[in-house]
């Protein structure tokens, strides 16, 4: 079982009346709410936390891409990942990922991911999301009904660019390049482990299975609600005659660990509620533009009723509800271990994206929760899948002889 420490990097200074004054945390949130000088400290705090997670022994540290929002401040996750590649040398660097349908030409993603893989010595996990409609359609202007087609073409171009050893021409519908010639190319062969974050489109399942990529269901609404969707995925895995390795799938879960269950509420409740009440305050008109989801996905309907009512649910959330619904797994180490085991086994996932920093959680609490998890929970969940423990098809294969720039930093007195 693998654990990646993931930071969404939310803006922690959204005002108390944010929900009343603004219709959305995404797309049209006025950027006067952003303060660059505070932002300087926020970025460094978040990046320090990711480096701390490496030191704590997490398998991976994770970043992702979002635009024009107060929910996640990484329009370019590759910039953060580049810095992490220099300051860490052990953990996988999971960029989950680059929204490849947004890039023109998408060869830019092939190049930057190759740079990250080379600089990190083969530690990159490469994520290719279609992207949320807020990001891909409303912020980056991609036509909803053509987004998936453009995504497929961008994927084809990037994979060929990594595979081919001679320049080639690419005559695509969205991208035409007479000379494709990716310098540098990735360390990992034939390519870094590929993760496809999904939000509930059933087409994504087949795409993952066609190429044997990891399917990562990134929900904030806990494993109880994720069950029907993941069951659908595993049914499809069986239907396609693929093995049932849990490493084919990953899930994102908000986790808060304290010494006791009561401490968890006292320490973390307000920050989790900040996340759900403010960071997920998304105008429904930005969440589902016609054409983004296919008719088949709409008909499958696993999410639709929930998506439609989501804003209402979020309005009246309490800490108890967050726990009862398992949106948040919080408590003393035993509680967290027991619920996470249920989550991991219930969804059949071999990789968990763990969200320890939530909303406006201060640094010390984030570190406390992460450390308690690493020391008291993670070791007990390592062997949930004994029969699959050597399956590394979806994991990084770093160079044995790679540089340790973070050690050079320490030697010259520049270390943390």
């Amino acid at each position: 079982m693998r654990f990646t420490w993931f930071n969404l990097m939310p803006w922690p200074y959204l005002p108390d009346d944010f929900r009343e004054k603004h219709r959305s945390v995404w797309v049209d949130i006025p950027n006067r709410l952003y303060d660059p000088e505070r932002g300087h400290h926020v970025y460094h705090e978040y990046m320090d936390q990711l480096e701390y997670a490496d030191a704590l022994g997490f398998d991976g540290i994770g970043v992702n891409e979002h635009h024009q929002n107060g929910y996640g401040l990484m329009p370019s996750p590759n910039l953060i990942a580049a810095s992490l590649a220099r300051r860490t040398s052990r953990a996988a660097i999971c960029v989950i990922g680059n929204s490849i349908a947004c890039y023109n030409p998408p060869i830019r993603v092939a190049e930057e991911f190759a740079m990250l893989d080379v600089i990190s010595g083969g530690r990159l996990v490469a994520g290719f999301p279609v992207g949320t409609p807020m990001d891909t359609n409303f912020c980056y202007g991609q036509i909803p009904a053509l987004t998936r087609d453009k995504y497929r073409e961008a994927h084809e171009l990037i994979m060929r660019a990594w595979r081919e050893e001679e320049p080639f021409a690419f005559d695509g519908k969205y991208t035409q390049l007479r000379w494709v010639n990716c310098w540098p190319k990735p360390v990992q062969k034939p390519h870094p482990p590929m993760y496809i974050p999904g939000g509930g489109s059933i087409e994504t399942w087949d795409f993952c299975l066609d190429h044997d990529y990891n399917y990562s269901y990134l929900s904030f609404f806990g494993y109880l609600r994720a069950k029907s969707l993941m069951d659908g995925y595993w049914d499809q895995v069986a239907k396609r005659g693929k093995d049932a390795s849990p490493h084919r799938a990953a899930f994102a879960q908000i986790i808060c660990v304290a010494e006791t269950d009561a401490d968890a509420e006292r320490l973390y409740a307000e920050h989790c509620l900040y996340f759900f009440n403010r960071c997920l305050h998304i105008y429904p008109g930005f969440a589902d533009p016609p054409g983004y989801r296919t008719v088949n996905t709409i008909k499958f309907g696993a999410l639709s009723a929930f998506v439609q009512n989501r804003q209402q649910i979020l309005q009246n959330l309490t800490w108890k509800q967050l726990l009862d619904e398992r949106f948040v797994i919080a408590g003393g180490p035993d509680t967290v271990r027991q619920q996470l085991e249920e989550c991991i086994k219930g969804l059949r996932v071999g990789h968990l994206f763990c969200l320890f920093h939530n909303g406006n959680m201060p640094d010390w609490k984030t570190r406390l929760s992460s450390r308690l998890f690493a020391e008291n929970v993670m070791p007990k969940l390592r062997d949930v899948w004994p029969e699959w423990q050597h399956d590394d098809r979806w994991w990084v294969k770093p160079m044995a002889a790679r540089r340790r720039p973070e050690e050079t930093l320490a030697a010259t007195g520049g270390a943390r």
Partner: protein, 260 residues
Amino acid sequence: MKAHWIETPRGPRCRVFDAGSGAPLLFLHGAGGLLTDNAPLEALARHYRVLAPEFPGFGESTGEEHLEDMLDFTLHAGDVIHALGIDRPHVVGHSMGGMIAAELACLAPRDIDKLVLVAAAGLWLDTHPIPDLFTLLPHEFAELLFHDPVAGAALLTAGIDAGDPQSVQQFYIAHSRRLAMAGKILFPIPNRGVAKRLYRVRAQTLVLWGAEDRLLPPVYAERWAALIADSKLHVVENAGHMVPYEQPKEFARAVREFLG
């Protein structure tokens, strides 16, 4: 109105409503498709042979995968004219249909007779940014599109049983399918550069607009009229963007006066 089917060489299979007799008049619908209430078409059919095709992705028509950009949509309109076997029809285009009609008049100026642009999309003025149709929830459309939103909502939801989840889901899927298709030429900004091609329009043109259009305010009507050489402007009072449906008699009267 009776309907029949046509197939175009590219692949789409389209339903065409066909009524009346006289000079052929091709009506190109907007992003919402043809409504159940056909009053404006019936009013025109008293004087012309009205042919109203549904674009792929709208109503019963299929083959949306064949149309991806402005040129595809425009050539499809030309293909429909050929498939119908009509010669130099008048073309009346509403909203998105007006955008396609204007483009057709640029690309194939000899293939059409007169042109009527009704609350046509296709232009953009920085001074008057157009509301983002694609952020609207289904129940928010009437407010933006109609002078009288209550009557408008009834027009948009005619035939749907709000108490039947199946009926509501079908409405939602049809709505999503139509706007997904429309987004190919209207998203994120409904401007595919027709302004620079309008010098090619040879057709006499009527620009017809609702005085209360909140989606494309009448300043856009003035812009179309300024860009098309042989054009007239007619503004209908007490009508919003859905002017043919809100004022079908006045709409038909103005069209008839212009077409003769």
